[in-house]
Symmetry: C2
């Protein structure tokens, strides 16, 4: 089905002001935004219009009760300059999973993908061409109804904005295994990409950084032992030649990079087990020399190699090299850049 | 200290359009709002201006990462028509407690109280005069910085809006003891008045309502047995002449009504124990006839008498009358209306 997207073009583009070799992270936005309002029980005509301020009532429920969810994904270009999306239907599905948990209306998945294609096609000049760079896309939905009281809102905005992102030159990272604060517990909102989960992580992450770590390693809320995830990444360990990653237990985000990494590892002959993993087990593997690699996986960074994990007064050394992690990263970047075979049909062209 | 609040008056008031005998709940706002911006590491000049739409960047961090907190309180009038606030310094303190947990800047507590006084003084014509009615005040703070990335924002708004609220005619309520979803766990954000906590509760509350209950009774995240709180209220039980209420365990909001109710009960010779309470204990007390009363306490409703609690397939009967609950409610309403002695100096006049 093709939707009628109402388009108003910006009178001029800001793209010429962007230095593609020096992109300020997270603060540059493209010329347009995709916006669709939910009113009277239905999504109204979707629009693409110049990105600009949105008049917001001070009682808009998202600002009070946090009905707000988002997605994150990247558009890349292949050698021919053709813009590509990575598994966008997965983000569409996850947005609706989040919507259900947060009592918000679902957004039509075909319109989600169509809106992404359309805006990326219009903003193709903003996609940084270097491998590892991308146009970061941020679809999100929030409650707009001005109302004081505890219930689901009756009006929402679904919006897509885009921001060019240079390559992440990530050094090997050090994690801080958090034993006081939690990100999420089963039965809560951890498996949804809900705004409140991120706010909960800000202060603990500041504390971890002040102690010299790069990211928080989140542990379970009961025993502070089972490993959940890392900042905005899922986590993988290689022990004795085999990979393990925490199973989706109801508190962990079902990462699209995670599921792609599992596929790539299996394509390369590795066994990948999804199961509960105790920090104790990682500690033991580190001590007896069987912990070979660990890395985080997520859209923003791709693959982030892990050097060490701080836990209370101990430092668990992981590894100084991550050859398999590197292979996985090169595979994802290569597929995204159209240089490697796209075996699983992950890449979606934005033009029909 | 007196702050310089910059005031711009609305050209005309909407108060004449309000039918005080039929106030639409949560959707009527007074003429003005108090607004103060945090920029460059400091709170800027506070303003009172006509309530209106706020231009908001689509990347405003509150909409994505949920850095948003709020307070809720009520202004009443005494027989002389003088507007009164109830323990506003407690809300100022709790806002800053929430701010610290969420990595947000603290708001000066004296300015919080001064801003409230000033706006209530200006909007005094909006305070419904009937006992049990009030002008609901909503101070809140949220991240305004347009930024894609996980960290504390560098700019915020602190705003106070006000909405007239008629008396709550609450019937005795039935609670649904939730055994799948959680509101909060220790180490999370449950003890902060953070937007995301409320979004987490929306879907479970809808489910409870669809089963014929009025509110969710939240249980702990580990055993689903320890009682936390009810909707947006703390909870009290009277067993064998004595009161118990869950202790503040790190996942429960430190309610201002809760602490006031403890004082009123003690003033009236009741013993009040704050300690962990298992649902099992309530069940047993109901079975052996020692469960005499239960009620929820919170700003919005005041005191809500509890009839019964549904737990899995059982219904725990509480009581059909709540004489002590009623006495507590009458005491709070009487003090707020200036009719009963204000022994503890809770009421604060808005005029100097
Ligand atoms: C909490 C959290 N975990 C994991 C991920 C990784 O998910 P994805 O691979 O879909 O980007 C993200 C998001 O990016 C996240 O926010
Ligand atoms: C989760 C929650 N618990 C309890 C309360 C009661 O707090 P207070 O008595 O300060 O209104 C509230 C707020 O109103 C609340 O939101």
């Amino acid at each position: 089905m093709t939707h009628n997207i109402h388009i108003t073009k910006a009178t001029e583009s800001n793209v010429s002001k962007l230095d593609f070799n020096n992109i300020p992270l997270g603060r540059t936005f493209t010329d347009h935004m995709f916006i669709c309002s939910y009113e009277d029980g239905a999504w109204q005509t979707p629009k693409i219009q110049p990105l600009g301020m949105i008049p917001t009532h001070p009682a808009a429920m998202a600002l009070h009760y946090g009905q707000a969810i988002f997605e994150g994904m990247k558009a890349t270009v292949n050698a021919a300059g053709e813009p590509l999306l990575f598994r966008p239907e997965q983000n569409a599905k996850r947005l609706n999973f989040s919507a259900r948990r947060m009592g918000m209306p679902e957004f039509p998945e075909d319109l989600f993908v169509e809106g992404l294609k359309k805006i990326v096609d219009m903003e193709r000049g903003w996609i940084p061409p270097q491998e590892g760079s991308a146009l970061y896309l941020r679809p999100f939905m929030y409650a707009t109804e001005p109302f004081i009281g505890m219930r689901a809102a009756t009006s929402y905005h679904f919006i897509i904005i885009a921001s060019p992102a240079g390559p992440f030159f990530t050094k090997r990272i050090k994690l801080y295994a958090e034993t006081k604060y939690i990100r999420a517990a089963e039965g809560g909102t951890g498996e949804a990409k809900a705004a409140g989960n991120y706010a909960a992580a800000i202060r603990p992450t500041e504390i971890a950084k002040s102690k010299g770590f790069d990211q928080v390693l989140w542990l379970d809320a009961h025993e502070f032992n089972f490993i959940q995830e890392v900042g905005t990444m899922n986590i993988f360990f290689k022990i004795n030649g085999k990979f393990i990653t925490p199973s989706l237990d109801g508190a962990i985000l079902d990462g699209i990079t995670r599921k792609s990494v599992i596929t790539i590892l299996e394509d390369n002959g590795y066994e990948v087990e999804q199961r509960p993993i105790k920090l104790d087990e990682i500690k033991e593997a580190s001590a007896n020399g069987t912990l070979e690699e660990a890395f985080g996986t997520g859209t923003a960074v791709g693959i982030a190699m892990i050097q060490a994990i701080g836990h209370k007064d101990e430092e668990i050394h992981v590894s100084d090299e991550s050859p398999v992690g590197q292979m996985v990263m090169d595979t994802i970047n290569g597929v995204r850049a159209g240089k490697l075979e796209d075996k699983h049909n992950w890449m979606v062209s934005v033009v029909a």
